[in-house]
């Protein structure tokens, strides 16, 4: 798995579920250092922005003011001892003293009485937001299996009691508990490196990739996406873990948690329905799109598409660049209401679980599989609408400037519908690294109609030496994206008299498309005719 950038790390720090991050840093020294640096920076900002501390006596004031207030919807109980007013400080303090004693007692009781794993109902299907519509439908269709895995070592027990598997995805609920029966997961667990879990068919071929780690309060939810066709009605899941990481600051626990089980896919495969698609379209710039088929499985829907570029388009886009092609489309119902957006520039409405593609270098065709947790083409008329696509293309655009004069006289770079104003340049430490080396920093702001990432920029000095350029900054969503930040010029230790900024690859966004078609109305599962999500959750 590739290392995390500082920006990715900063976003991940705010996620409630940090299991992917923790799982990675448990095994990567570089990212562990970056993680520690990000935490330190976060703490510094917190200290600077929240410097004031309200004294404990202030809490008493609030608590005494509560005496006259009832919680709405609550039956009011008369309690004369609750009448406390500000000004009667002694009474307030006395009461707070009693209250504090009660807290300690309550905490003690709650911790002592914390239920063990056996006492708690934990399931993929609890109404805690961990299950999506596809998983709930899969349960209704009876494809949830219990492999009865339970393996204990060093006092830590790993259990697997729920697996949903079909041709779309494989979802496994894993519970890990310590010797007291307390659940181990989340930020402080790090736990196991789930990338070590293998899913194969009867021939031993790995058929799935770990897509995400999630879950609810009491278990980890591992979602694998099927990436290769299965050659059998049985799949094999195996894990062999030799260390457990509970906390970054504590030594890892050495042990052995090994298991393997099989999942019978017969019923899931029987329920799977395939709808062939024949629609095709070629965009004005030569991208051919061939719709292949829709595959409805109990837990979701896969859409398979093949794309290829015309000869003219291929000239400007290498195989590596073609790998970055991104299709943008959406689905809408009969009323024209959008059901799901894919790769939209405006975000939102995302029922897409995964998209992956393979480029056949011989034919130049790219095969795409989009996996949705919900695409109701078997319940209502659904229309596919193409919104556009983006593709990196070779480019030759440049602008000359005097670095020391930019502050006084900004320079404008215009290309392919993007406008960037270069506002200043200096030599400073690389802001992407802790104690970074000296680099050139070109400050800029502007607007882009193209993607502005996965592009290639360089600067060239008067002697013809070229320096690679990295972008660091913000890109807003929307048709015209507001962009600003710095171009980081690596290897530049002092400001030359003159420079040329060159864009060698533009990740161009094409929107001059005009294509939509109705998906064939699929045959619904009779069991799901009258699905009541509330009941399913219960």
């Amino acid at each position: 798995m590739k290392c995390w950038t500082k920006q990715e790390m900063e976003v991940a720090l705010l996620d409630k579920d940090q299991s992917l991050l923790q799982s990675h840093i448990a095994h990567c020294q570089a990212c562990r250092s970056l993680y520690a640096a990000c935490l330190a920076e976060q703490e510094e900002w917190n200290q600077s922005l929240f410097p004031d501390v309200l004294p404990d006596a202030w809490d008493e004031k609030v608590m005494s003011a509560l005496g006259n207030i009832t919680i709405e919807g609550e039956t009011v109980q008369e309690d004369s001892t609750r009448i406390l007013h500000s000004g009667k400080r002694n009474r307030v303090l006395r009461r707070t003293g009693i209250a504090a004693a009660i807290f300690i007692l309550l905490c003690g009781v709650l911790v002592y009485a914390q239920p063990t794993i056996a006492e708690l109902v934990r399931s993929l299907f609890n109404a805690d937001g961990s299950a999506d519509i596809g998983l709930l439908e899969a349960r209704k269709l009876g494809i949830v299996q219990d492999p009865k895995v339970k393996v204990t070592d060093q006092g830590y027990t790993l259990e697997i009691n729920e697996v949903v598997a079909d041709g779309t995805r494989i979802v496994i609920a894993v519970k890990l508990t310590d010797r007291e029966g307390r659940v181990v997961r989340g930020l402080d667990s790090g736990a196991l490196d789930w990338r070590g879990l293998k899913i194969t068919d009867d021939t031993g071929q790995e058929i799935a990739e770990l897509k995400s780690l999630g879950g609810a309060k009491y278990f980890d939810k591992l979602t694998f996406i099927i990436t290769k066709p299965m050659a059998s009605n049985t799949i094999h899941v195996s894990g062999d873990f030799k260390e457990l990481m509970l906390n970054l600051n504590k030594p890892r626990i050495q042990g052995h948690w090994k298991f393997d089980f099989t999942v019978d896919m017969t019923r899931a495969n029987e329920l799977t329905k395939v709808e062939p698609l024949g629609a095709q379209y070629t965009t004005p710039e030569g991208l051919h799109i061939q719709m292949n088929r829709l595959v409805r499985t109990p837990s979701g829907v896969s859409l398979e598409i093949t794309t290829s570029l015309s000869k003219d388009a291929i000239v400007r886009s290498s195989l590596d660049m073609q790998q970055q092609l991104l299709l943008m489309y959406h689905f809408e119902d009969e009323q024209g209401t959008t059901i799901s957006l894919v790769n939209s520039q405006n975000g939102g409405l995302d029922s897409l679980i995964a998209q992956y593609h393979t480029l056949d270098e011989q034919t130049g065709e790219t095969h795409w599989v989009y996996t949705f947790m919900y695409l109701p083409f078997d319940k209502q008329q659904v229309r596919f609408v193409l919104d556009g696509y983006s593709l990196p293309l070779e480019r030759q655009a440049s602008v000359n400037f005097h670095p020391t004069m930019l502050g006084a006289k900004p320079v404008v770079f215009e290309d392919a519908g993007d406008t960037i104003q270069l506002l200043g340049m200096k030599i400073d430490k690389n802001p992407n690294e802790q104690d970074g080396e000296l680099v050139g920093l070109i400050n800029f702001a502007g607007q882009a109609r193209n993607m502005f990432y996965q592009e290639e920029w360089v600067v060239q000095d008067g002697q013809g030496r070229q320096y690679p350029v990295q972008f660091r900054g913000g890109i807003e969503g929307g048709e015209m994206k507001k962009i600003d930040g710095d171009f980081i010029v690596e290897g530049m230790m002092e400001l030359p008299e003159q420079l040329t900024l060159m864009r060698k690859v533009v990740n161009q966004r094409f929107t001059d498309v005009n294509w939509s078609f109705p998906l064939p109305l699929g045959e619904p599962f009779p069991e799901l005719d009258r699905i009541d999500l509330q009941k399913l959750w219960q």
């Binding site: 976060q42 900002w45 917190n46 929240f50 309200l54 809490d59 003011a65 500000s86 309550l106």
Partner: protein
Amino acid sequence: MSEPLSDQAMIEQVLQGHQEAYAMIVHRYKNKIYGILRGMGVNKEDAQDLTQETFLKAYRHLRQHHEDRSFSAWLYTISLNVWRDHLRKPSAVPIDHFDFVEPSEDMTPESQYLRRESQQEIQDKLKELPEHQRLVLLLRYTNELSYDEIADITGMSPNKVRNDLHRAKERLSRNMRQDEEAGA
């Protein structure tokens, strides 16, 4: 050694009639809420009043909080509504306020002074940021909210939150650096 109670556990205690459990919620969030209000330009006295009002409002409507939602996001939303209402009113009358910062035992009077100086400088610079950037920065460094939650609270898109945060940090750092250079 007992682990700190979760927000939800504390809320359940309060809803079961243990009003005193609410003190733990007050204690956990008061400085963050007060800090957000101060950062948004509210004076000390009003910020104390509005922080108290936030807790009273949250208490009154505690049953409306859904356990599958983040309690901190819910509480910060209330505090911002209280703040917005406050902006529409004529100035409030302060009652019974406290003076702080609460000194730490291991800080000398000199280091307390220096700390106050540097914090005051940041607070002053914070005021130079546009309001939406200031708000995003403050919410982000409560260290409790995801970008999506900040987006929900502020009514911005997650992308705008990300960009405002980036711009706010850049601008604040730049202004502080410029001041340092000018002072050097």
